[in-house]
């Protein structure tokens, strides 16, 4: 199908983009990579009055270091994330999860910020951002503000972004020390969305697990942290038994949906299995 008609704006700077968003009327959609937006527009599930295409806002692309953080421009494509040397060095979990997103054509167009702002519960990157305690830098008419990942994901397809605002960059704290990471994704066929996935970052110290951060994909309307498992792992021995025991708590506090791909109770089972695998791999077992 063909999308409904819309007004089209193509700014080249963040300021121009904010202005175009402000002038766009009641229903404005921001076009980042378009790999989620264009499909829903084609199905006319979305029919915005104005589309603000930010693909030519060059300042939103690229990865840089800023002290203890990596700063990933919202318009950095998945392809560029996968091949970026700074991400490989300081946040390989981001690259590993991004490699599992969709397919190579989609990864050339789709963007890191676009996927996060879309906030699909089955999307892979929100759980990674949450696990890594990323911060979201949002530009608006009144200036910029920073929102922690824990507050950014509000509900199904809903984030802390207000009308008139634009996600400009994501700050990911650099992980230094003995961190291991793993993204374990379960889906049935190529390019399919996650039925459940688990992002784990584990810091080891003297044969035990000092700290574990675990983000869960598709276990509720927003990405979640497996807090009970994290608590059980803090200070635990880095043994298969200790990890398996902690992983059995991975479904605590989750509220997965039932859909064509899986029933809720199956997802609750899956998340325990995948958490065990992800944490084991991240801990080097």
């Amino acid at each position: 199908m063909i999308p409904a008609p819309f007004q089209y704006a193509r700014p080249t700077t963040v300021d121009e983009a904010l202005q175009a968003i402000a002038e766009g009327g009641e229903d404005v959609k921001i076009l980042a990579g378009g790999q989620s937006l264009i499909p829903v527009m084609r199905l006319r599930l979305a029919a915005p009055e104005t589309v603000v295409d930010i693909t030519r806002v060059g300042e939103l692309r690229g990865v840089r270091e800023d002290g203890d953080a990596l700063v990933i421009g919202a318009m950095t494509t998945h392809h560029d994330v996968i091949t970026d040397p700074l991400i490989a060095q300081y946040a390989p979990l981001v690259a590993e999860a991004t490699e599992t997103v969709a397919d190579r054509q989609v990864r050339y167009r789709g963007t890191f910020g676009g996927a996060l702002a879309h906030a699909d519960p089955a999307g892979d990157l929100p759980a990674v951002a949450l696990a890594l305690d990323a911060e979201f830098v949002i530009a608006g008419p009144g200036g910029r503000r920073t929102v922690p990942a824990a507050d950014f994901f509000v509900d199904y397809l809903t984030t802390a972004l207000e009308e008139g605002e634009l996600l400009v960059e994501i700050r990911v704290p650099k992980l230094t020390g003995q961190w291991g990471m793993r993204y374990e994704k379960f889906n049935r066929v190529a390019q399919a969305w996650s039925i459940v996935a688990v992002a784990a970052a584990v810091r080891r110290e003297d044969g035990h697990i000092a700290e574990a951060r675990i983000g869960l994909t598709n276990m509720g309307p927003t990405p979640l942290r497996a807090r009970a498992t994290e608590a059980a792992l803090a200070g635990a021995d880095a043994t298969p038994e200790a990890i398996a025991s902690a992983a059995r708590q991975a479904a605590e506090g989750t509220s997965p949906s039932s859909d064509l791909n899986a029933q809720a109770d199956y997802r609750e089972h899956l998340v325990q299995v995948l958490t065990r695998r992800a944490v084991s791999a991240a801990a080097g077992l």
Partner: protein, 166 residues
């Protein structure tokens, strides 16, 4: 309407398009480039894959206005690269290895495969399967598609040493 300037398969075009026009519809309906086909309505099948500034994209998931100022290569524009009128090595390999049954997915498979081989000239079988995961063959003829990509990889790396193929 928005005016765009775009190069497609080596020719320059200036056209007015509605912003909602998908790149694939512009290519097929305004330029007559019907070699690029629409296989699904969901961005899954990859049959409409073209190269936009050298990168494989699903042309049903890009607006034509987004190609303004860009270079587009379709299945119709690859044979001329390098040797005059000859099939591209990937086209030739799909022909020789029977890498198609009904042929509907073939334009997209070839465009995705060329993109894969540009980045990874000697892919393993697994890398080929992952590299073309964005393209569906509903005849399920994947075995020969993979063999075709393997043959093309061999031929292209050989051709590269002779300086004959880009």
């Amino acid at each position: 309407m928005t005016s765009i300037n775009v190069r497609v398969d080596g020719m320059s075009y200036s056209d007015d398009v509605e912003p909602r026009t998908l790149l694939v519809h512009y290519l097929r309906e305004q330029l007559g480039k019907v070699g690029t086909v629409v296989g699904c309505d969901t961005s899954n099948c990859g049959a409409c894959t073209v190269h936009l500034d050298g990168q494989a994209v699903k042309s049903c998931t890009v607006f034509a206005v987004q190609a303004d100022g860009s270079e587009v290569t379709t299945i119709e524009g690859i044979a001329e690269e390098g040797r005059d009128g000859a099939l591209h090595p990937v086209q030739k390999a799909f022909h020789e290895m029977h890498g198609l049954q009904c042929g509907y997915c073939t334009p997209g498979m070839i465009m995705a495969s060329i993109d894969l081989l540009r980045e990874n000239p000697n892919p393993s079988e697994t890398e080929i399967r992952e590299g073309i995961e964005g393209n569906l063959c509903r005849c399920t003829g994947y075995q020969n598609i993979v063999r075709a990509v393997q043959q093309a990889a061999g031929e292209m790396s050989g051709a590269d040493t002779l300086g004959a193929q880009a």
